[in-house]
Symmetry: C2
């Protein structure tokens, strides 16, 4: 079935540019028809230039989202502008009202019902009215700490506790991520900045709520904790150096309880110098499931892949606001067996 | 959402009995309304007796499938009568025409389109006409060597080869399975019986075809091989003893190619004395994914769980013949966090 999807990229920051490169590489299955960004340095430029591909695509970045959507009539908008739903739900409504399905990297959109019930209800309503589907996804939230954990329970007839442990070597990741986890700060500086809400993974509680919904578990208590990880040694990355005793990164975890029993535990460590990076799901159940992705999933690449791979799934899904738990098993899309 | 599904168990062999025990344990979510089997030793008996639970359920096993289906009007039939579709597709049609969704353990039904195109088309048609869904699933086929492999590619934007390696310690499994893999035979006896088609895992090619379809890969060559594994030492199980040099079990593998390149490799070893049982998926791609379920998934329990867990998914799915790749991510159903 040689289908080609008409796609608009909404947001041309680092993740958006990476999406554009992937979209352009799948030219037999995807027709890139537009790109939206408000950055004056980008507006008017060809996406082939801004992405560093050095090609001419004739897709010119525009700040006029409404005009781009109206003129290009995309099947799907790949949306990468913000982690926070309240800052940009208008953008999603705009896409939906133009008749486009949306795949968004917005972490809070991955399971928005609890933190933003009004926005969620409104988005679901307008998506249904327009016969399109809206999805928030990515590698985390959207895969490692929610969809994969849910999938792991699929062979169990009894489950008492779902544990997900993700350990990421931030030293291998992009520079902004190393800064985002506080690498190289003193512990005092970390605590000061932490108070401003600058650190921490966005979406951990969303992942937890998604699992609870899939299991139909009535969570009555939820604890969330963010701490720094102090480096036990000097670590040098391509971008910075962390001295012994300085902050290496973050330890962010959340636990859900029912009647005092911990039933879901999500534990995320992102720090430079991690010696055993991995994504692990342990289902305490019958039968137990001890699943590990050795080395972990490389997030910078995988987040983009996860967004693009969702394109055919949202096009074929029933209309409305959905989560990855509502859609068919994720799978690579237009992943040529050979290049 | 406290939904209770009306379920009929069709087939009360060992797997069917195990399904019945699980169905009866989920009494808040499942109402067992009927049981069908043609075995004269079972007909007329209470399922609470036949399953060894020693309880009275008032669900009496009947050989009259048509009457049971008509009188009980189940939402879902859990069907466990045969591995082979051509032997029992009439049973599936009967369920569907009674307005019931079907979850079946029939291995050939997990991806029936290639081996049985006419039966598949007819089943799909009658399921759509009756507004119900038909699914073949289990732990393998249905999960380890297909759905999980597809899921593993969901974070990749490029994939060149998908490898699944399942190594099962048959010594820990039920006696019939130990016999089914030829444990304790001489290699000559194995080869003789192999010629009669008695050995081998059913569903390996179905798993492979399901992955190929999900990846939209035009497979042009498919090789399937079945060999015996010779035991390098004496192995004693609760049921039998394998001497050094006797058959320990089977090595069954299948490979799919495109233009001479191997793109899918499924490798299954089931033998007594396996020292490193595991289910492993390796996706050669960008990013690569190295996923392993340590110890492997315990099949005897998991197959039943997989069937029961699919009940709400088939009830909520669009009508027709489907595969696990068409449905939402598998998840435990009515898996109480505490008993």
């Amino acid at each position: 079935m040689p289908t080609s999807y008409r796609v608009v990229q909404y947001g041309v920051g680092p993740i958006g540019q990476s999406c554009l490169r992937t979209l352009l590489s799948k030219h037999q299955s995807i027709e890139l028809v537009g790109a939206i960004d408000i950055d004056p340095d980008k507006v008017g430029k060809d996406v082939g230039e801004i992405t560093g591909l050095g090609i001419k695509t004739d897709v010119i970045i525009s700040a006029d989202a409404e005009a781009v959507l109206r003129e290009t009539k995309p099947d799907v908008v790949v949306h990468t502008t913000s982690s926070f739903l309240s800052r940009m739900s208008d953008q999603l409504v705009q896409c939906v009202e133009a008749g486009a399905n949306v795949v968004s990297s917005t972490e809070e959109l991955s399971f928005p019902y609890h933190r933003h019930p009004e926005i969620s209800a409104a988005l679901d309503e307008v998506a249904r009215q327009n016969g399109v589907t809206v999805l928030g996804t990515g590698v985390n939230p959207g895969y490692v700490m929610d969809a994969l954990a849910i999938m792991a329970t699929g062979v169990c007839h009894q489950v008492s506790l779902i544990e997900v442990n993700r350990e990421v070597d931030a030293g291998l990741r992009r520079f902004p991520l190393q800064l985002k986890v506080g690498a190289g700060l003193s512990t005092d500086a970390f605590e000061e900045k932490k108070a401003t809400g600058m650190f921490g993974h966005i979406g951990l509680v969303e992942s937890l709520r998604m699992i609870a919904r899939a299991m139909d578990w009535p969570i009555d208590q939820l604890d969330e904790t963010l701490e720094c990880i102090v480096s036990p040694r000097r670590v040098v990355t391509p971008f910075l150096t962390v001295e012994e005793g300085q902050v290496a990164g973050i330890h962010h975890y959340a636990k859900a309880f029912i009647e005092g029993n911990c039933v879901i535990s999500l534990d995320l460590k992102m720090f430079v110098g991690a010696e055993d990076p991995r994504d692990a799901v342990y289902v305490h159940g019958d039968p137990p499931v001890d699943l590990v992705i050795r080395g972990g999933i490389f997030g910078d690449t995988a987040t983009v892949a996860t967004l693009i791979n969702a394109i055919p799934l949202v096009v074929n899904a029933p209309s409305g606001l959905v989560t990855v738990a509502d859609l068919p098993v994720p799978r690579a899309f237009a992943a040529a067996w050979s290049t």
